[in-house]
Symmetry: C2
Subunit: 406 residues, 2 copies
């Protein structure tokens, strides 16, 4: 290890920071022989193809001076207009100054934390929660406190009790972080009643709501519920969106949407975070939307991943023993598995990796350290062959383990 | 103005933050009829051309599954290796784990501040200094204190006195921020003696040195001096580099270099800042370097901008009155002008914009609010016609003003 001789000069947040367990794990199991259900990456099968080659060539011919130059910090104006019109469920109230193009939704969350969090500020998060969101809170010195998640998403009754309890202790809560649709890792969706309840609680306790919503467009049954941003009447919601799951993660395209006051503050933060987003990526997406290609791509992605979900669920039903529980996600990339209470998914992972099969354990998604008996399976990136082989293998391991216990 | 009704929830740094004066000014004078010497943007004339079209097409054919996917947070390994070999003056001590690909050098500075600065930490900066660097310090709640800059760059004797003075007051200084080569905005270069002196002071006072060096490759006379990173023996320097001035700003490519311990901490910070850099940009640059195109582009950029500098200096000599002083930058994009002591460059700017000519005033680059009588002229982006017309116009304004005073 190259320990830095000057680590006593690190900031408080850097002293406390550590590499994401999940990212490290995914890197660890990236060996070619591994059949991995670990990463939440999209399937390259549905990445854009020759149409983007043609678009890039046209841009080089017609807009070379523009696409390689700095752009505005806010992002390409015409792109923000089209996103507001075509990709938001609140177009009527959204002008371009309610949108900021970001380097993926990860940057959106990072900038939102910069605008709202001082060191020590509390943000309530689900148990479990996406590690990118909780990591962004921690990177500003914020403190995450967990609230249970069930089949209807974040338990807002429990949230209400937690808020009251913290208030009684004299502790100020600044916000709530949630992935309302097809949550990573639990795959659950926040019900409409709870969305409304969450916003009532936010108003009563003067909170900001960080709505991290990368999977909205990957809804496999009916259509997505109204977003928190669409239901909000007080400017309390900052919504973080991404094109990584429906277009391309490598192009690093996302946006933040909310009250123009918040967006202006986030834009100021972005000036010193990275000055401006990638210009060719923005123009490629702009052309892609203008040529009416995105809507079709979203539809075909939805069908593609729905079939992969169904395939994996079928395999699980075939191969997993009865003592194992899991949910049927209505969208997104993830199935969350609960092992018997006293099991440790880390032991299972060890055996599983020995058989060249990988997944991620659930515990790193729980800010209170619980969830030892949970694990996340992703059907997004693996091929059908790998899904079938991996689930068969896991099924055998689980069956053996249960037999050994009896 | 859309004032956010919840601005009482903003963080301390967001409350204090404001949009960069310089960026706002550049936006203001972006009207097509304006002949602008304001922005420090590169000239689209020397942006990459058809060779990148060919590279993109090949990548789409051969690496489509890879270029549109997430990449590692550190950046493409082969690219980091080639950068260490070909673009660093310390290749012998630089392994890929000493390099992190960033979204321009702006992100490098932002991540370095995140790793080293707690709210209230002091960073010493030049008077004047690039606003992006001081803005990044402020975005982490750091405090910039100024030290004079003269023809040899940051005055390290003054720095020594300032450090001693602050120590006597019991105030802890965390680091020094400097643009050692062809500084923005003053155009000056830190001499070799001062580079060594700066590192001695850093060792004596246990400081981190933020070496922001976007112009190193645009050296118009001889070759650049050894970097602070190359002279450093203690792992105290984090160097921030950029391809924006020599390749393309829109592709947002830069890197941070330093002790592997620092780079690892910056990588952890980047995981939650934006997860990973743009993948197609990285692969386009990688191919560009592998096809041996970058070295030639740097050489031709150097010749191109040297000629523009010489042209502007010649025009200034022809048209500016004797009472006006300026420097001859050995590289980079900027000429810094000193008006008579009691003048205010903001008045001149007002008159100048009325005549459709723009520049930026020097004062926003001074963290102590001085520099009212200074201004920055950039020869990078304007065409020769615009340079000639703008300098002629400015020369008339200056001459009129001096006549009026006599």
């Amino acid at each position: 290890m190259d320990t830095h001789p000057l680590q006593h000069l690190y900031s408080d947040t850097a002293q406390k920071a550590h590499s994401s367990t999940i990212r490290d794990l995914c890197a660890l199991v990236a060996r070619p022989e591994i059949r991995s259900l670990a990463g939440g990456w999209p399937d390259p099968e549905v990445f854009p193809g020759a149409e983007l080659s043609a678009i890039f060539e046209t841009l080089m011919r017609e807009r070379r001076r523009e696409i390689f130059q700095y752009g505005s910090t806010e992002g390409v104006l015409e792109l923000r207009q089209l996103i507001a019109e075509q990709l938001m469920d609140t177009p009527e109230v959204l002008a371009p100054d309610s949108l900021l193009i970001t380097q993926g939704s990860a940057q959106g969350m990072s900038l939102a934390c910069q605008v709202f969090l001082d060191p020590g500020d509390i943000v309530l998060v689900g148990l479990p929660s996406y590690f990118g969101g909780t990591g962004a809170v921690a990177s500003r010195g914020g403190v995450c406190i967990g609230v249970p998640v069930d089949e209807q998403g974040l338990d807002t009754e429990a949230l209400a009790r937690r808020l009251a309890g913290l208030k009684a202790e004299g502790r100020r809560v600044k916000g709530v972080y949630t992935v309302p649709n097809f949550q990573n890792p639990a795959g659950v969706t926040l019900s409409l009643e709870r969305r409304q309840h969450l916003l009532e609680l936010a108003a009563a306790h003067d909170l900001i709501v960080f709505e991290d919503d990368p999977y909205q467009d990957l809804c496999y049954e009916g259509s997505a519920l109204p977003s928190l941003l669409a239901l909000d009447r007080e400017g309390r919601v900052v919504q973080l969106r991404s094109l990584s799951k429906i277009f391309s993660p490598g192009l690093r395209l996302g946006w933040a949407a909310g009250h123009p006051g918040i967006i202006r503050k986030m834009t100021e933060a972005k000036q010193f975070a990275d000055a401006t987003s990638n210009t060719p990526s923005q123009f490629m997406l702009l052309e892609y939307i203008k040529q009416d290609l995105l809507a079709g791509r979203i539809r075909s992605n939805r069908d593609f991943y729905r079939q992969k979900r169904d395939f994996m669920l079928k395999q699980m039903k075939l191969h997993f023993p009865e003592a194992i529980a899991w949910n049927t996600p209505q969208g997104g990339f993830f199935i969350f598995v609960r092992l018997p209470e006293d099991w440790d998914a880390a032991d299972l992972l060890q055996e599983s990796v020995d058989r060249d099969v990988a997944f991620v354990t659930g515990q790193p998604f729980f800010v209170d350290g619980r969830g030892k008996n949970t694990l996340r399976l992703s059907f997004s990136q693996a091929s059908r062959d790998d899904i079938q082989a991996a689930i068969t293998e896991l099924g055998e391991l689980l069956t053996d383990r249960i037999s050994a216990e009896i």
